[in-house]
């Protein structure tokens, strides 16, 4: 659990803790997913989906592309997030598959409810897609007030959200984050060996100067 390890005190923050619990429960499969995505990215032949139908994969790709959109810089689509997820779902427990199996039709039902002229999420405009996803996102509020909100659609959305973030930012050597695009976006250089100076504020550091005397007086 990420929060447990690197920022243990954030555990008291509800939202983060919920995500972390979800993440922790599902990580073993995410490893396999990362490996699959890595292979898919390396292969010149179009990768085959194992859980999603090609049509479903288009929908999932569209959702992940609203979570981390492609703009001037690459997004979830360029990082191959949908491949990562596909593999994850072939290794997940049955009830986790259920989240996706029930969640995606639930999402499409929401599409038709909000925008009767569309059959599918991927047909809507980006603005409309955001509106649909906001109606499912119980962590930011509106879903709770939505009269027809149901648990399975919102947990589906949270699952896709967490998967997208993991697949986008994990160490590219371990599978996801195709071509390291996620790290490029956040400014993390690809190397694993660095030399000082590291950043703007330490590049002109003059060296350690001893503290002035008089510490005892400064004591609180």
């Amino acid at each position: 659990m990420i929060e447990n390890l690197s920022r243990r005190n954030f555990l008291t923050r509800g939202g983060a803790a919920v995500s972390a619990v979800w993440l922790s429960a599902h990580w073993p499969a995410i490893v396999a997913a990362a490996e699959h995505a890595h292979q898919a990215a390396k292969s010149s032949a179009p990768p085959k989906f194992q859980f999603f139908t090609p049509e479903e994969a288009v929908e999932i790709d569209a959702i992940t592309s609203r979570i981390i959109p492609s703009d001037e810089t690459p997004g979830a689509h360029e990082a191959g997030v949908v491949y990562f997820m596909d593999r994850a779902l072939t290794t997940f427990a049955t009830d986790d598959q259920k989240t996706y199996r029930e969640g995606l039709p639930g999402l499409q039902a929401r599409v038709r409810e909000l925008f009767p002229s569309f059959e599918k999420f991927s047909s809507a405009t980006p603005e409309q897609q955001d509106q649909i996803l906001h109606s499912l996102d119980d962590q930011t509020g509106p879903a709770r007030r939505h009269s027809r909100s149901d648990g399975s659609s919102s947990s589906f959305f949270q699952a896709v959200r967490v998967h997208t973030i993991v697949a986008f930012l994990v160490d590219p050597d371990s599978g996801g984050n195709r071509d390291g695009v996620g790290w490029k976006v956040i400014g993390r250089e690809p190397e694993h060996i660095f030399q000082p100076p590291f950043g703007y504020y330490d590049k002109d550091y003059a060296g350690w100067q001893p503290n002035p005397p008089g510490a005892e007086k400064a004591k609180a």
Partner: protein
């Protein structure tokens, strides 16, 4: 590296069984085997080495590669003993050869004189059982020095005016300063405070066949692939193996200590990887299993003579748990710090180590460090300012802007010893082996939360002086998750309120010793590992002397 390792039979009565191979157990094994004794170390986790230490957040963090496994080892939590505990992840510790020292931050402060004699200085604190240690800083000083030189600690002696006396400088200069450290140092000096280079158990120079730190950026939560982090794995364990008298036996889950009719322990019972049960015979047992598992093992080892748990005639085994108080304040700056490069911490201050309760209105003290310890996925999940959207363009833009521009101030502080704060056996919940699970009972003493608030204010003052563009503090709240596991089998001269004496021998059983975070009488100011290791060096000296005088067997 390959050594001709001794392979003892379980029926061989070795001199010592050491339970656990972490900060304390690794050093205990090294010292006892170097002193000529035959030692078997039983470690519940696997024997991983540098080649296993990848930077994959999924594998290392998400799958708990280096830490206790919540699915196999469930835990429960409650605030007070009157409540029914609820199953939840409540404890984190290293579960591999080297223990928590493999994945820790490697902050390596010594305790100060005050930590050992605070009760005498400040008097009783209502709602707590604050006590002096039976040993002083002066007793431990030679062993702190030993840790610094034998294990490898980087730092600058005399840089902090609040440092306790030392007999020798650090063996290596401090690690390079990070941008977070420069920002911190400049702002702290504006305020008249006394920042100094953080002492870290990470090599700033190559040493003893180990590499200096390469600043890879996967430090806290990860094992070091070049052996620069001074874990027990990279240091003491290897020396212990080289003696030819020490066997490290991984995947060995000790769940009972056996005792004979004369009231002496005879060995440790453990499950191997295939869940077969073995008894490793030994003349004496040293439990270094950490502040959660050491009391649990004693409670699991209840017998006719000790119906409430082995060596628990006092009834305080598992009690007086201290977790260290404190929290994080984050800040974003105008230019990239690139603080993801390197180890976590480069600057620190101890101006608030010893607060005057009469002036501040509460007991306690602490230290504040400048750091960045989040790897990319962890940062995206928990490192953005409150109110940042959790997805979409604004999420992506904030993430892209902040990752290189964020730093943290981590406030570390005292926790008071409260009798009802404890680890105990859950009456219902079982682990994957069918044994009672750990139950954490904890409610922070009000002074611990006041100290956190006090240090939060100082952190915010510092960030104002640093002209941070944005800053936010984690909300102050009661603990329900244990990482620093301290005080649960504490040391003392009073048989009714402590479990071990100053030789780390249990009051009740002559050939049973305990040494790890559970031995601590007070919590220190938030960085216990250095003291746990110094105690282990000292305990090994005491135990060796007792054994050589024939006073154990």
């Amino acid at each position: 590296m390959k050594f001709d390792l001794p392979k003892y039979k379980t029926s061989d009565e070795v001199d010592f069984v050491v339970v656990g191979s972490g900060a304390a157990g690794g050093i205990m094994a090294k010292e006892l085997s170097s002193n000529g004794f035959r030692v078997v170390v039983l470690e519940q986790g696997p024997y991983l080495t540098e080649a296993d230490f990848v930077h994959d957040e999924v594998k290392v963090i998400g799958q708990d590669l280096l830490t206790n496994k919540p699915k196999l080892q469930p835990t429960s939590f409650r605030k007070t003993p009157n409540e029914k505990a609820k199953p939840q992840r409540a404890v984190l510790y290293g579960r591999c050869v080297g223990g928590t020292s493999v994945h820790f931050t490697a902050n390596f402060w010594r305790f100060h004189e005050i930590d050992f004699i605070e009760r005498s200085k400040v008097g009783p604190v209502p709602g707590a059982d604050l006590r002096d240690w039976p040993i002083t800083y002066a007793d431990l000083e030679p062993y702190y020095t030993k840790v610094e030189w034998e294990i490898g600690v980087s730092g600058l002696a005399g840089a902090s005016p609040f440092d306790p006396p030392r007999s020798k400088p650090y063996p290596m200069p401090p690690l390079p300063v990070k941008s977070s450290g420069v920002i911190f140092e400049r702002a702290a000096r504006k305020l008249g405070w006394h920042p100094f280079p953080a002492p870290m158990a990470i090599l700033s120079q190559p040493r003893a066949g180990r590499s200096a730190c390469i600043n890879c950026g996967f430090c806290l939560a990860f094992g070091c692939e070049v052996g620069a982090k001074s874990s027990s794995l990279a240091t003491a364990i290897r020396t212990a193996e080289k003696t030819g008298r020490c066997e490290i036996r991984p995947n060995s889950y000790v769940h009972r200590i056996e005792m004979d009719s004369n009231g002496r322990v005879t060995g440790a019972v453990y499950f191997d990887e295939k869940r077969n049960t073995h008894l490793q015979k030994a003349k004496a047992v040293v439990v270094c299993a950490n502040g959660a598992e050491t009391p649990r093992l004693l409670l699991l080892s209840a017998n006719k003579q000790f119906p409430n748990g082995l060596a628990n005639s006092s009834g305080v085994v598992g009690k007086y748990l201290m977790l260290n108080s404190g929290g994080v304040t984050n800040a974003v700056f105008e230019h990239p710090l690139n603080d993801y490069k390197g180890f976590a911490v480069s600057r620190l201050l101890h101006d608030f180590y010893e607060l005057d309760p009469q002036k501040v209105g509460f007991y306690g003290g602490g230290g504040i460090d400048a750091r960045f310890d989040a790897t990319p996925v962890a940062f995206a999940m928990g490192g953005l300012p409150p109110g940042t959207p959790a997805w979409g363009k604004a999420f992506k833009d904030t993430l892209a802007h902040n990752f290189t521009r964020t730093m943290e101030l981590f406030c570390h502080g005292t926790s008071l010893a409260v009798e009802t704060n404890s680890f105990s056996l859950d009456p219902d919940l079982k682990d994957a082996w069918g044994l009672p699970a750990l139950c954490l009972t904890y409610k922070d003493h009000p002074d611990d939360l006041k100290l956190w608030a006090f240090q939060n204010q100082r952190a915010n003052e510092l960030l104002d002086a640093a002209e941070a563009q944005k800053k936010w503090s984690q909300p102050i709240g009661e603990s329900q998750f244990a990482v620093h596991l301290l005080g649960t089998c504490r040391m003392g001269n009073d048989l009714k309120t402590s479990v071990i004496n100053s030789d780390h021998r249990t009051h009740d059983v002559k050939n049973l010793f305990l040494c790890d975070g559970s031995s601590l009488v007070t919590s220190g100011r938030g960085q216990p590992t250095m003291t746990i290791e110094a105690l282990s060096f000292r305990a090994a000296d005491r135990i060796t002397a007792l054994a050589k005088r024939g006073e154990i067997a």
